[in-house]
Symmetry: C2
Subunit: 277 residues, 2 copies
């Protein structure tokens, strides 16, 4: 049995989505037990409850010795407000756990990786059930949480460097903060959603200035780009190549990650560590 705690450090989820994912898990993943924290349904302004409420739920899930993995419910915004304090309170029970999520959960993945706590993994969240084809994303996540490695991002098989994956905005905001891990020698995968291409270019200006010494960069999907009053004049791949070249960062091509149901799984760190996850 794998006991998976779900909490929401950012925005809340709907009960019906939680019920659908529980039903899918019950039908197809009998070895998985989902423990969905009531805090996932709390709301306070933008967030799934106040900072204090989100913090307590996260610490409770991470420090519960009967729990094997922490699955973040959904992105949105808010994890950066509680990440530092939460990690200070994580105890030895957090050490062995997988922490799975992406998007706004990247603040926590980055900080966990920096502090060498647990196994941060970039991959689908419970809230992805809402997407078109979202049940496939949920299956990929539940399989990975149960030890099945078939959902890994395809380039990882041949990758000799340690790897991380981030939403571009999240990574840009992490840079230079107390949550930012050292990424020298790493392959960094980046994806983005719902940003104008000029904003993607601006975020690349910023993020690549902080990524000196990385082994290379891969670009995931840049999706749902809003229509601007004029075309930007370059595509997302051109933007990534341009800023990599300016900072002498090897551009390694595309990555099979993104804000969509096809989002593949990227455990942070080295390949040998991935085998054990």
């Amino acid at each position: 049995m794998t006991r998976i705690a779900v909490c929401a450090p950012s925005a809340p989820i709907a009960r019906e989505d939680a019920e659908r994912v529980k039903a899918l898990a019950l039908a197809e993943f009998p070895e998985a037990e989902l423990v969905i924290h009531e805090q996932c349904f709390a709301t306070e302004g933008h967030f799934a409850g106040s900072d204090a409420v989100r913090l307590e739920a996260l610490v409770e899930c991470a420090n519960d010795p009967s729990i094997d993995a922490v699955w973040f419910a959904r992105g949105g915004y808010g994890a950066c407000r509680i990440a530092e304090e939460a990690l200070e309170r994580f105890d030895h029970a957090a050490q062995g756990k997988m922490f799975l999520g992406y998007s706004d959960a990247g603040y926590l993945l980055g900080a966990l990786y920096r502090e060498r706590i647990g196994k941060p993994v970039h991959g689908p969240m419970l809230g992805d059930m809402r997407r078109e084809g979202g049940d496939e994303a949920i299956r990929r996540a539940l399989a990975h949480l149960g030890g099945d490695r078939s959902g890994l991002e395809p380039s990882l098989g041949a990758e000799k460097h340690p790897v991380v994956a981030f939403n571009l905005m999240t990574l840009a905001m992490l840079c230079g903060t107390r949550l930012m891990p050292g990424l020298a020698g790493h392959v960094v995968m980046i994806e983005e959603v719902s940003e104008y291409l000029y904003a993607v270019d601006r975020l690349f200006f910023h993020a690549t200035a902080h990524l000196g010494g990385i082994a290379g960069l891969r670009l995931g999907r840049v999706s749902d780009v809003p229509q601007n009053d004029r075309p930007f004049g370059a595509e997302a791949l051109d933007i990534a190549r341009y800023w990599c070249e300016r900072h002498a960062i090897p551009f390694l091509g595309e990555a099979d990650i993104g804000h969509d149901a096809a989002n593949r799984i990227v455990p942070f760190g080295l390949a040998e560590a991935r085998q054990g996850q």
Copy 2:
């Protein structure tokens, strides 16, 4: 006579706006001669011409010894792509000039201040003619360019610390890059436009993590906040206070700057330097 060169390191302006500002200057500021670079009307994708075209125009204006001041035409996006190379090519003729602009021009103001080149000043741009009451913004800018200090941001009169002013997004993107000036001991004024409050909060998370050691922060107007699917739960002033408190930055109240016609003028640096500008 004050010869003012106008160039567009970011997005282009319309010829009719340039004509209206020239007419206003001719009628009310006979001592000002506006030299509007043809590059201001160039377009290439998002930008006022390619990086090379914008770079050449900026360097030409900065290095022309017959020019007293460089007035940025408009913000948008693009100055960060050419700022570093432009400043490397600035010569002694750039040293005595005022450089006036805000928003995306903040990348240049910040880099100039870092390199101690010229007199960077945060204030209205030619393109502000389009705003409601924009003629007042243009008058304020032209008066300042001609030596009249009546348009200064009101708190500057009593301020003993050196001061800078930035758009929040621009400052957040500057942090940690080769364009970022050291701001220890400075009062930092911040304004924002057209960002969701959750994005303002996120930018404050990032920017304040980089502003350790500043003398204090003042918040200008945070305007045209888009309506989100749910209220954020705090106002912009609360957000600024919250992040200042987390980083032990004195919050000094409001600043009379913003993306609007009332945008007052903030010369970078110390008050004694302001007297001479």
